[in-house]
């Protein structure tokens, strides 16, 4: 096998190169200054400009050369790369802004943190464009390894260390299972490239048990990353223990790119032939929605509640993934998943930003009851938070309703009515816990304490997401059509 790496390939991966070089800037400066931090604001600006340039290049590449592959077909730059990569970069930018002001991540060691974040962004960019399972693995590991460290680096002393370790151990298991499955696939098809076995996948799952094993293991690896029940157990602990910006980062950017890679695999139509795998995935989606929503009802810790809510949303997204997997072209299903991930990222990022604003020091953990009086002290923020919660619950006219509408629309179009019914029933269950913060904020007396510092950047991020949550839903039609068109 000869490797032909040309200028074209380098141009295509220019977003990744930009991310890589930007990630080096803050720590290099720190070394040159004799181990003294530069102004965190400068670090923030460097990181954000890197992300923005990467996003710009991603869009340019997506427009100029849609559907081209690079590095001997191991990276593919198509609409999934473009949209999901875009969502992930936006999520990462918002998370970095949160990190800049959150008490458990700001100040000391900020340049190292930014380095790790951007490295994990680099991993994410590899993951969204990877079509070779081996490349997927590299992206996944690069993303996760940086993340383990990021969580462990928190100024908080106890929970974050536990979270990092737990995430590391369980993540390694998942990676091992993933690799194991990949070996089976390589053994049966002689290739690890999705593009190469895509044609035979649906026959192979029926005829070749080893291939079925392989693909199941790979799917389990992904299920762990996107916290599909019963592989979700790490999520609440890690989200709760990690610094809030990191939880936001995991819930939005990391989840988006993991779903992107998952989507690529499932859209190989491996589900079309295999009744059993198809059934199992459907049940996983149902169980995930139920587990996430029912467990979230019982939570008092706001971050833990959001973690379970994020599990539940993984279940909804899996419905979309299954839809994309069983349909003829999968375009509508995939577009609805992309739109769902965008809206989910906006809402979740906003909700975590509220938590971040409420944290007074690195050790504070925010309970739902702490929100009492929040509406009185911070009416605008409370209004934004209500919008996020109602949107997560899927109530019109917020964005969350429209994304659910498209997702279930796709599912019903493919005849998966019973999954859609499970989805809407779960939306009703979820209303109960999404309303709880609203009850506490507006209907109970109290005096919510907010961080005394002014958190301008976080507030701006929050308000911008709130505006999108309010407006994007109503004007979502053209947006969804644009996503769909980009696939054709």
């Amino acid at each position: 096998m000869t490797l032909n790496v040309g200028w074209k390939d380098l141009a295509l991966i220019s977003p990744m190169l930009v991310l890589f070089f930007t990630s080096l800037i803050p720590i290099t400066i720190k070394v040159l200054r004799g181990q003294r931090e530069q102004q965190p604001l400068a670090t923030l600006i460097q990181a954000l400009s890197g992300l923005v340039v990467a996003l710009g290049l991603l869009i340019v590449m997506g427009v100029i050369a849609p559907g081209t592959s690079a590095f001997n077909n191991s990276l593919l730059f198509d609409s999934i790369t473009l949209w999901m990569g875009g969502i992930a970069l936006l999520g990462a930018s918002a998370a970095i802004i949160l990190m800049y002001e959150n008490p458990s991540t700001q100040g000391e060691q900020f340049s190292e943190l930014v380095f790790l974040t951007l490295s994990s962004c680099l991993g994410m960019m590899i993951l969204v464009s990877a079509v070779d399972l081996l490349t997927v693995f590299i992206g996944l590991e690069m993303m996760s390894l940086s993340l383990y460290l990021m969580i462990g680096m928190s100024h908080e002393q106890k929970l974050s260390k536990e979270a990092a370790f737990k995430y590391f151990i369980l993540g390694s298991f998942a990676s091992a299972i993933f690799l194991f499955g990949m070996a089976y696939i390589f053994g049966t098809t002689g290739t690890t490239n999705i593009l190469n076995f895509i044609q035979q996948a649906s026959t192979l799952v029926q005829t070749n048990t080893l291939f079925l094993f392989g693909i199941t293991f790979v799917i389990i690896g992904f299920c762990f990353k996107v916290s599909i029940a019963p592989f979700h157990a790490w999520t609440p602990d890690v989200y709760q223990g990690a610094p809030t910006p990191h939880s936001a980062y995991m819930a939005t950017a990391i989840k988006t790119v993991s779903f992107a890679a998952f989507l690529r695999l499932i859209a190989t139509k491996s589900l079309v032939g295999s009744e059993n795998l198809f059934d199992v995935l459907q049940w996983l989606a149902v169980i995930t929605m139920l587990v996430g929503n029912v467990a979230a009802i019982l939570q008092n810790n706001l971050k833990r509640m959001l973690a379970y809510s994020s599990i539940a949303h993984s279940g909804y997204i899996l419905v979309g993934l299954i839809t994309a997997g069983v349909s003829e072209d999968g375009v509508f299903g995939a577009s609805s998943v992309i739109f769902y991930l965008l809206s989910y990222s906006l809402m979740t990022m906003g909700a975590f930003a509220i938590v971040s604003i409420m944290e007074k020091n690195e050790n504070s953990s925010i309970m739902v009851d702490d929100l009492a009086g929040f509406a009185k002290n911070r009416p605008v923020l409370a209004l934004c938070f209500s919008a996020f919660m109602l949107s997560l619950a899927g109530l019109p006219p917020f964005l969350g309703f429209f994304s659910k509408f498209y997702l279930f629309n796709a599912a019903i179009g493919e005849g998966l009515i019973w999954l859609a019914i499970w989805g809407v029933i779960n939306s009703v269950i979820s209303v109960y816990y999404y309303l709880r913060p609203l009850v506490v904020m507006y209907m109970r007396e109290g005096d919510a304490e907010i961080a005394p510092r002014s958190l301008t950047a976080t507030t701006v991020t929050l308000v911008v997401s709130a505006i999108f949550v309010l407006v994007l839903g109503v004007v979502s039609g053209p947006f969804l059509s644009a996503v769909e068109k980009s696939f054709l």
Partner: protein, 517 residues
């Protein structure tokens, strides 16, 4: 543009209220806004052509072309009066809330106007998805109104209200999406327009629950039955009513319950005629059970507000009865009773709110002899009581009479039972009236440290329009019914192949005008 103006003006008002800097002038401002809205909505009467059953003043633009979802508003004889009822009640409610809402005034009025937009949108939307958006939107402000300004158990009541109603409507969403795919199958073009839904021929197999039309019928019916509320799913209503602040109760009883019954007429019966006919016995039975059960439970309530809440269950049972006999009298009576119930029960809740502001109690046993202490209040209460028990000359009589006549014509057995509700209704209302207003003075009434003051001018201003409507609607029902007649005729005659066309009069006159030139 008139319909869009009516629907979205309140939203603009809500925004203006939120940005208004001066707390003190806020109430007058809100009142002014709501009166403006009412006056604008009155122009509908002038523009409305009662001779046709087609949709008028239609506004139609593509909203989400991918799914054929339109921004589609229109009005006909069925929705006209409900729109006016909404705009009529809002200023009254705002004026009536001046004492009962004493905190977070800004938030309250903003919620009120958002709610108004949602309710008007529900009545006017003719696109399934647009309708669903408005339908669900109405939950959010109501949730806040009950939860923030309500009584002691307000949080339980409001969460129950929210989850109950939402649980009903999500299955409707699945049904709507499914029907959108059915239109795609039928016409090749996906559409969420109600008019395209009407064209669908959905297969119906009797005696079989799991057939398409029956399932869709129940998915829609459940959502509306919870809102109405029909007997076994009514339990959210007494809680929500008792805990809601006075304005919340008025808007809930006055308009929001009507959203349910209206949607039976607009959606369920014309969309699923065979299923509706086949399952009519179920709804008639539930309606009758609701009438009798609501009345009996109301009779034993120690709390006036709860009594009125259960009386709502009873009255809504009549409306359901009227709708599901599918004849001229029944449906006319049903629509008329929707308006009556809005006026009389709304006024009852206002009156109860007024006495509650004075004594801070709604226990019937603590009252007695109120008639000598508060003569003006007593007069108003008596008139509204008469309207509620449907005494001739009041509005209630017309509606109930028409419904019972329609029921007798179509299914006499139900009317025998329903008629007992009339007697029971008189019994619980008059008994309550006797206990509160006559007899020995109760502990709250004779308390000399806190003498009770009779109604203020503001309160009289609130009640007078309601009383006028009671008699106006009771004496001259034709003035109201003429507007709905064409639409009801059309529905009754073409129930099994229902279709609505868009009224083209304006365009024709335009063409004629150009021709003259």
């Amino acid at each position: 543009m008139i319909l869009s103006t009516i629907v979205f003006l309140p939203l603009l008002f809500a925004l203006a209220i939120t940005l208004w800097p001066n707390e003190r002038s806020l109430r007058s401002l809100a009142l002014g806004f709501s009166v403006i809205e009412f006056l604008i909505s009155l122009t509908l009467l002038q523009k409305f052509d009662p001779s046709t059953a087609s949709l008028q003043m239609v506004e139609k633009t593509m909203w989400i072309p991918r799914f054929g979802i339109q921004y589609f508003l229109g009005i006909d004889g069925i929705s006209l009066w409900l729109v006016l009822l909404t705009t009529f009640l809002t200023p009254i409610i705002i004026l009536g809330s001046w004492n009962s809402i004493d905190k977070k005034i800004k938030g309250f009025h903003a919620c009120m106007f958002i709610l108004q937009t949602a309710m008007l949108g529900t009545f006017l939307a003719l696109d399934a998805v647009l309708f669903y958006v408005f339908w669900e939107l109405s939950l959010i402000p109501m949730y806040f109104i009950v939860g923030i300004w309500g009584g002691a158990r307000r949080i339980y009541a409001t969460v129950k209200f929210f989850i109950y109603t939402m649980a009903g409507s999500v299955l409707m969403l699945v049904a709507i999406i499914y029907m959108m795919y059915l239109t795609q199958e039928a016409t090749g073009q996906m559409s969420a327009s109600l008019l395209d839904f009407y064209q669908l021929k959905i297969p119906f197999i009797g005696k079989q629950f799991f057939s398409l039309q029956t399932l869709l019928f129940f998915a829609f019916s459940l959502a509306f039955a919870i809102k109405v509320p029909v007997f076994p799913v009514h339990t959210w209503l007494p809680d929500a009513h008792v805990e809601a602040p006075t304005p919340g109760s008025v808007i809930l009883a006055g308009v929001m319950l009507k959203m349910g019954t209206y949607c039976y007429l607009r959606w369920v019966i014309p969309l699923f005629p065979e299923a509706a006919e086949y399952w009519a016995w179920l709804f008639l039975t539930l309606g009758v059970i609701g009438i009798i059960y609501g009345a009996i439970v109301a009779m034993v309530q120690p709390d006036i507000k709860k009594l009125v809440a259960y009386s709502s269950v009873s009255h809504m049972g009549y409306i359901l009865l009227g709708l599901f006999v599918f004849n001229q009298y029944g449906i006319t009576g049903g629509i008329y009773q929707m308006l009556n119930h809005g006026i009389s029960t709304g006024a009852l809740f206002l009156l109860i709110g007024m006495i509650y502001e004075r004594t801070h109690s709604r226990e019937i046993s603590k009252y007695g002899g109120l008639a000598s202490a508060l003569p003006i209040f007593t007069i108003f209460f008596f008139i509204i009581t008469l309207s509620s028990i449907a005494v001739p000359l009041t509005n209630g009589f017309v509606g109930e009479f028409l419904i019972l006549m329609g029921t007798y014509q179509a299914a006499p057995i139900y009317s025998y039972f329903a008629i007992t509700g009339v007697v029971l209704g008189a019994a619980y209302m008059l008994w309550m009236f006797k206990r509160v207003f006559f007899g020995e003075k109760g502990e709250l009434v004779k308390d000399e440290h806190h003498p009770l003051h009779d109604l203020s001018w503001r309160e009289i201003t609130v009640l007078v329009p309601m009383v006028i409507m009671v008699f106006w609607m009771g004496l001259f029902p034709n003035g109201f019914l003429n507007y709905s007649k064409a639409s009801i005729d059309h529905l009754v005659k073409n129930k099994n192949s229902y279709n609505l066309v868009i009224f083209e009069n304006e365009k024709k006159s335009e063409v004629a005008f150009r021709g003259d030139k």
